[in-house]
Symmetry: C2
Subunit: 170 residues, 2 copies
């Protein structure tokens, strides 16, 4: 079988970290206005990068995986999904996850172009929001989904009880 | 060519995040003693996971890559290595990076056994320390290398001006 690297190459890369709280800048300060931030309490920080071959038909599966994978620890030490914890979600666009080492520098040739990435990021965040908002356990606890601004510098603070970092590729 | 997945599978996985400061618990509290922490100022957080095929002869290359890849931003906006910034280093053992999704759970069959991982982690941290300590720019600025305790829960706080998250595989 002729199996090139491109066939196996990931199209979307996600890094998940558990947090006790996190805060992300959504707009940098200007001369006239201070910085704007969003923040979450206990929950999941989702860093996401769309590579060139990513497409809209993948979004539903990625959202389902991120929201149902059992990586969040209950007070009793049991691993459950972020929907079952329930917890908050902070989504951080992170194109650097698509970098490849070349010599002493990273190259980003495989990252999707900005307009397609912006669209996919919007679809991903909207589906995360609607799924969490239709989950009764999340709503009972007033869980929120917050998002970074695509294309901005992601000024982030994160406080963890163990980040429990996982990489998912799609 | 018969090229199985095992041939291409990574042996060591590293995630790098830039930070303005970070603090990591090295010993949890006991009934008699409070928690112990290490902390760094501006620099690099290095999460590392050794998989089954990892070996000592890889350590030198990994250390060299982590310390010389140009991912740290100077005040002037130029990307330089952590040795040239110069900045601190916080090394966080993170076996979860070796997880693979199976259904709704992660499996960790590919992670190296604990004693071999402990040994490789020690070699990696020692070589990072000796390299930073022999770098005159780092020493002029009193840069430090701090490490988490292998096998412990990594209670971590990180403050960034953009984590600029990168994945390296060896």
């Amino acid at each position: 079988m002729a199996s090139g690297e491109a066939d196996n190459a990931p199209k979307v890369r996600v890094v998940l970290q558990q947090c006790l709280g996190a805060r992300l800048q959504t707009q940098p300060a200007t001369d006239d206005t201070p910085s704007e931030f969003v923040q979450i309490s206990r929950g999941l920080v989702v860093y996401i990068c769309f590579l060139k071959a990513a497409s809209s038909d993948m979004v539903e599966k990625i959202v389902k995986t991120v929201l149902t994978v059992r990586l969040s620890e209950t007070d009793g030490g049991k691993l459950v999904s972020i929907l079952d914890l329930p917890g908050d979600l902070l989504i951080v666009p992170q194109a650097t996850l698509g970098g490849r080492l070349k010599g002493r520098a990273m190259q980003y040739h495989n990252i999707i172009d900005k307009s397609a990435g912006f669209r996919l990021y919007g679809e991903f965040t909207e589906l995360c929001k609607s799924t969490v908002n239709s989950n009764s356990i999340s709503q009972e606890k007033n869980c929120v989904v917050q998002c970074g601004t695509y294309g901005n510098r992601q000024v982030l603070e994160i406080d963890t009880n163990g980040p429990y970092t996982h990489i998912l590729e799609f």
